[in-house]
């Protein structure tokens, strides 16, 4: 009876199952996919200033508009801009920025939240944003508050060269700096997957030093190549958009938040003869197959959704994590999930999902458990489940004996 009243021993007893639980999770999760994709962030950087670099700001603002349209909220976008175009005295259209000579779309319309403006766009601030090493006074809105479940889009445009990117004509970001910052981010569990998109001359060289897993990088040009502007707006008197960004935007203009285009379709959409440079992507650090990753995983805020039969009956965090692992292994299930999303939001495509409809409809925790049970590859997890299930029995029996 003494032990029963002794809180310490009770504590020890309770600790045991927790440890066991933890070990079972750790055992199950691979190092890359430690967490589920839970949120999306975008860091959009325009590294140049001055009137003749109008197009860089237009590039960044266009991408800002696109990611917002595809569902990343403003508070999860860090926008770094010199921001000296809209109100530049040389601007024929005050307080407006265009990325096309047809002037149909004013990028500087409403709701442009610039986080780092003018001379705040420095290499130091950029690295601080990535690594999260801010001074205490920096407000939350200027911080990249990502976690291990974040997909981050890092877009940079400006003037670059072999393994460097110029910041506002005064400093440079080197490929080593970028690689180091990304490594720190990885160490600090600040992202799950990171897509770096760079539109500068010799952009590919900027990725040379990257070595952190989960990073996918695409640049507008190879080493020794220039990235060119797309066209000149003879009314405003400057080039308004770069080729790489122009064709990226052209790709995204066809998409909406529910579309299913994969990253590989984006990457293969770049035509070297139109770009006048060779778009280069580095995927050796990236584990997933590009054909299976929808672009909205980075450019939008579309995540894996777990369908449940009813509200408040969602799986525990642990199980959902496992569920997600499962799906990434088994693409058919993954596709079902995606289509489910479409079904929920878009009634027109209902015929598409019919063949798999019944399977999707009868999903419940027990059925998944049964499915797993049937599969040979999940013996390990079954054993773990068994162990965990035994813990309460053990506790109860010990207590009863005393």
């Amino acid at each position: 009876m003494e032990t029963f009243t002794n809180p310490k021993s009770l504590f020890h007893l309770l600790l045991l199952p927790c440890l066991l639980l933890y070990s079972s999770i750790a055992y199950n999760s691979s190092p890359v996919e430690s967490a589920m994709h839970t949120n999306n962030w975008a860091v959009l950087v325009c590294t140049s200033r001055f009137w003749f670099n109008y197009r860089h700001m237009a590039n960044t603002l266009s991408l800002y508009r696109t990611v917002k349209r595809l569902g990343i909220p403003d508070e999860r976008i860090i926008l770094m801009l010199a921001d000296d175009m809209a109100c530049n005295t040389r601007n024929k259209y005050p307080a407006q920025v265009f990325n096309n000579e047809n002037h149909r779309l004013n990028l500087y319309g409403d709701n442009v939240e610039v986080d780092y403006r003018g001379y705040e766009v420095t290499v130091e601030n950029f690295l601080r944003v990535l690594t999260g090493r801010h001074e205490t006074a920096v407000p939350r809105s200027k911080r990249l508050l990502s976690d291990e479940g974040s997909h981050i889009l890092l877009y940079m445009t400006g003037h670059g060269g072999d393994e460097f990117l110029k910041f506002q004509d005064s400093e440079e970001l080197q490929s080593h700096d970028l690689a180091d910052a990304v490594k720190q981010m990885k160490e600090k569990h600040r992202f799950k997957e990171l897509l770096i998109m760079v539109d500068t001359c010799q952009a590919a060289t900027l990725f040379n030093q990257l070595q952190s897993p989960g990073v996918l990088a695409i640049g507008s040009s190879m080493k020794g190549e220039n990235s060119y502007s797309h066209h000149l707006d003879s009314d405003v008197g400057v080039s308004v958009v770069d080729r790489f960004t122009y064709y990226t935007l052209a790709f995204f203009e066809r998409l909406n938040i529910y579309d299913n285009a994969s990253l590989s379709s984006l990457f293969s959409s770049y035509n070297p003869s139109l770009l006048m440079s060779t778009a280069y992507y580095r995927k050796d650090l990236y584990k997933r197959r590009l054909e299976e990753v929808p672009v909205t995983n980075f450019f939008g805020s579309v995540m894996e959704t777990i369908h449940t039969d009813a509200a408040y009956k969602a799986l525990s965090r642990r199980n959902s994590g496992r569920f997600e692992d499962e799906m990434s292994l088994d693409q058919s299930v993954h596709h079902i999930e995606r289509r489910m999303l479409i079904k929920v939001n878009d009634g027109d495509e209902i015929h598409d999902i019919n063949p798999e409809g019944e399977e999707g409809a009868c999903k419940c925790p027990w059925s998944t458990f049964r499915n797993k049970f049937q599969k040979a590859e999940n013996v390990d997890s079954l054993v773990n489940y068994g162990l965990v299930a035994m813990i309460p029995l053990l506790v109860i029996s010990t207590w009863l004996v005393q």
Partner: protein, 719 residues
């Protein structure tokens, strides 16, 4: 000195450790004749190769973006400009004697556009020779005591403030205009400027203020612009007692009338300013023209061979050729275009380039013979105007304040119908608009492109890195020859002494002798110094001669020559008599004099190349052969060989050519023909040089003339 020491050391010791650079120097000095022949030939050849080596111009500054914006000047603005031209050429406007009516019309037009308008009245400052004003910054305009109310000019100034600009910078547009006897061309230039001005009052993209200066050119275009600039940059705070133009009734009248007609407008009596000037364009339209197409001539040379940034010329050239379809001209020496020897040279270069291309297809430096001749003519004129150091237009006044400026002279193919006039107004206006918009895009001063260059065509240039080679090759032999002469003079006298004295006495007198000998060059240095001192005196003399009233150029020149000779003789008798060979032992005296002369010429040319490269280059072409060849005629006569005879002839010819007045008349004769050459011309030319504070004048007076005198004294050396 160092080399000679090394040499004597190497004679004594069997295996001295001599550094390679010293050995190289000794080698060059001992073969100075060969080196000088090779270097001088290479230098002249490099000069003639410059048109081949010229590079195409390119816009170096990213911010300029010329022609990226489509022109906004429409027919509406052109008709506005046309209206002004009509009003100005209307005979009624010329009724007033002082031409005030035209100024009023212009001011009224500017006011109607909403620009700030002010009149700037000035008294033309006569250009005078101020001995100490070379290289000094322009002074803030000392007020002259004796001027009358009848002689003043009125500049009309209109300023457009950039609507969203910070007002820190400005672009200046200048149109010289003589209200008393204006031709149609001047009125047309005003029309072009007005049409641009009326456009610029409406646009939203101005980042810099626009100043339109209608410079009253009745006392010269340069004087008016310079007076306005002086007032703009260095405001004078004169006391009230000094007489100024406001006291003159005529001017008061002008202002009263203005105040009456437009009260509460943007007219102001005080001097108006905008920000620092980013660039200035002087616009002129030539009255008569025999060209077949619309041409635009660019004048860029400012005082002392300073040039505006090459980007400004590039922008104008690009817009004129690729946007407005105008032909662009830069000055050429027309007489060179027809010279057959240049054509032959061009053909030689062309065939050489072809051979080179066959040998190695990547070599592409070939230009055709006609291109070569044109390039050489342009290069020669570029060199000539830079060497002269006199600005080729009102833009020169801006360069004195480090503002990049050029003069654009439009010479249209004339016909008097309205369509043609509208066309030239539209194209000229769009060109000016394009240049202004391009400069408006600038974030900093012009700094990216070259300041030191020679043009070989409007779109080709030779940069400082290339043309310096020719000059460097030309003057490279000077120090070597000087050193070798010094060494030779010392060693030979040593030999002669050794022969004359008894062998036992050598050791006694040797040290003494060396001590004396090593200081003997001081004697020559004294002579050279005296002659240079004389040169300074000669260059100061015109200041006093110009004080003599009512003196014709010819008499002034004669007085100058007489005074110069007198001063030379006086100096010679007072300070020393080294021109004659005093001692028989110093038979090599002339070699030392030549050595020191060459050194001083080397220093002089080197200094001048920093101040005005073109002057130094032309001076080197004249002086280097003369200095290197100079040798007493007596020696050559005594030798009697063919070689010495040739050298004698060369010496005599060079001795004539290198005399500054002779060189001037030769050049003038080559350019304009020898028919109307007058002795007074040289005086007038020199007068213009000092009036424009040209460093070329100082160079002629203090480097070339002394060098010539010294060389002549060597030629007639009696030894």
């Amino acid at each position: 000195m160092a080399e000679t020491k090394e040499k004597s050391l190497s004679d004594e010791k069997p295996k001295p450790r001599v550094r390679p650079i010293v050995r190289l120097g000794i080698f060059f000095i001992s073969h100075s004749f060969l080196v000088s022949v090779v270097c001088c030939t290479a230098g002249v050849l490099a000069l003639f190769l410059l048109p081949v080596l010229a590079k195409n111009t390119y816009i170096s500054e990213n911010a300029l973006m010329p022609g990226s914006a489509s022109p906004m000047l429409s027919n509406q603005h052109v008709s506005d400009g046309n209206r002004l031209v009509k009003d100005l050429t209307n005979p009624n406007s010329k009724s007033s004697e002082t031409g005030i009516e035209s100024h009023k019309i212009i001011a009224q037009y500017m006011l109607d556009l909403g620009a700030e308008v002010s009149f700037h009245k000035f008294h033309p400052q006569m250009n005078q020779f101020h001995p100490l004003h070379f290289f000094s910054s322009p002074d803030s305009g000392k007020i002259q005591e004796n001027y009358s109310c009848s002689s003043y000019g009125i500049n009309t100034v209109g300023i457009i403030r950039a609507p969203r600009g910070d007002g820190k910078e400005a672009i200046v547009l200048v149109t010289p205009y003589n209200a008393l006897k204006s031709g149609f061309g001047e009125a047309l230039s005003l029309g072009i400027a007005y049409s641009v001005f009326s456009l610029l009052t409406q646009v939203t993209w101005l980042a810099k203020d626009i100043i339109w200066l209608v410079a009253d050119s009745q006392y010269g275009e340069y004087a008016a612009v310079a007076a306005w600039l002086r007032e703009y940059q260095t405001p004078k705070f004169s006391s009230l007692s000094t007489p100024n133009a406001e006291m003159c009734p005529d001017v008061n009248n002008l202002f009263e009338l203005k105040g009456h007609s437009i009260s509460g407008s943007k007219f102001s009596n005080s001097f108006r300013r905008a920000g620092t000037m980013a660039a200035a364009l002087v616009l002129k339209v030539r009255d008569q023209n025999e060209q077949f197409e619309d041409t635009i001539s660019i004048y860029a040379e400012a005082s002392n061979g300073q040039m505006p940034n090459l980007d400004l010329i590039n922008v104008v050239n690009y817009l004129a050729v690729h946007r407005q379809g105008l032909r662009v001209n830069v000055e050429k020496l027309w007489s060179l275009l027809n010279s057959s020897w240049l054509k032959t040279l061009g053909e030689i270069f062309e065939s050489l380039a072809k051979v080179a291309k066959i040998l190695y297809p990547k070599w592409k430096f070939g230009i055709t013979a006609t291109e070569y001749v044109e390039g050489t003519a342009t290069l020669a004129s570029s060199l000539y105007y830079q060497a002269l150091g006199v600005p080729t237009g009102p833009h020169g006044a801006f360069r004195d304040y480090q503002v990049d400026a050029i003069t654009l002279e439009i010479s249209p193919k004339f016909s008097l119908d309205k369509v043609w006039r509208n066309d030239i107004l539209l194209r000229g206006g769009r060109l000016i608009e394009g240049v202004i918009r391009s400069v408006n895009n600038l974030l900093e001063k012009f700094h990216q492109s070259f300041f030191l260059y020679l043009l070989t065509s409007p779109s080709k240039f030779v940069s400082v890195g290339v043309y310096m080679i020719a000059f460097a090759l030309l003057i490279a032999p000077l120090p070597m020859v000087a050193a070798s002469l010094y060494v030779a003079a010392n060693s030979s006298s040593n030999c002669s002494k050794g022969d004359s004295s008894t062998p036992s006495a050598i050791t006694d007198t040797d040290e003494n002798c060396i001590a004396i000998r090593s200081w003997r060059w001081l004697n020559s240095a004294k002579l050279v110094f005296i002659v240079h001192l004389w040169g300074a005196i000669v260059s100061l003399l015109p200041y006093f001669i110009s004080q003599i009233p009512d003196c014709s150029p010819t008499t002034s020149f004669m007085i100058w020559v007489l005074l110069s000779i007198l001063s030379l003789l006086t100096l010679n008798s007072v300070l020393a008599s080294p021109l004659a060979c005093a001692k028989a032992t110093q038979e090599k005296e002339w070699a030392l004099v030549k050595s020191v002369t060459i050194s001083s010429v080397f220093i002089g040319l080197g200094l001048m190349s920093v101040i005005n490269f073109a002057t130094a280059e032309i001076g080197a072409l004249l002086m280097v052969p003369m200095c290197l060849l100079a040798r007493p005629l007596k020696l050559d006569v005594r030798a009697g060989t063919l070689r010495s005879f040739c050298r004698m002839i060369c010496n005599l010819v060079l001795g004539h050519i290198a005399f500054p007045p002779a060189a001037f008349f030769l050049l003038k004769g080559m350019l304009d023909g020898f028919g109307n050459a007058n002795v007074g011309d040289f005086w007038m030319w020199v007068e213009s040089l000092w009036a424009w504070n040209s460093a070329t004048y100082l160079f002629i007076g203090m480097v070339q003339l002394p060098c010539w005198v010294l060389c002549v004294s060597i030629l007639f050396h009696t030894c």
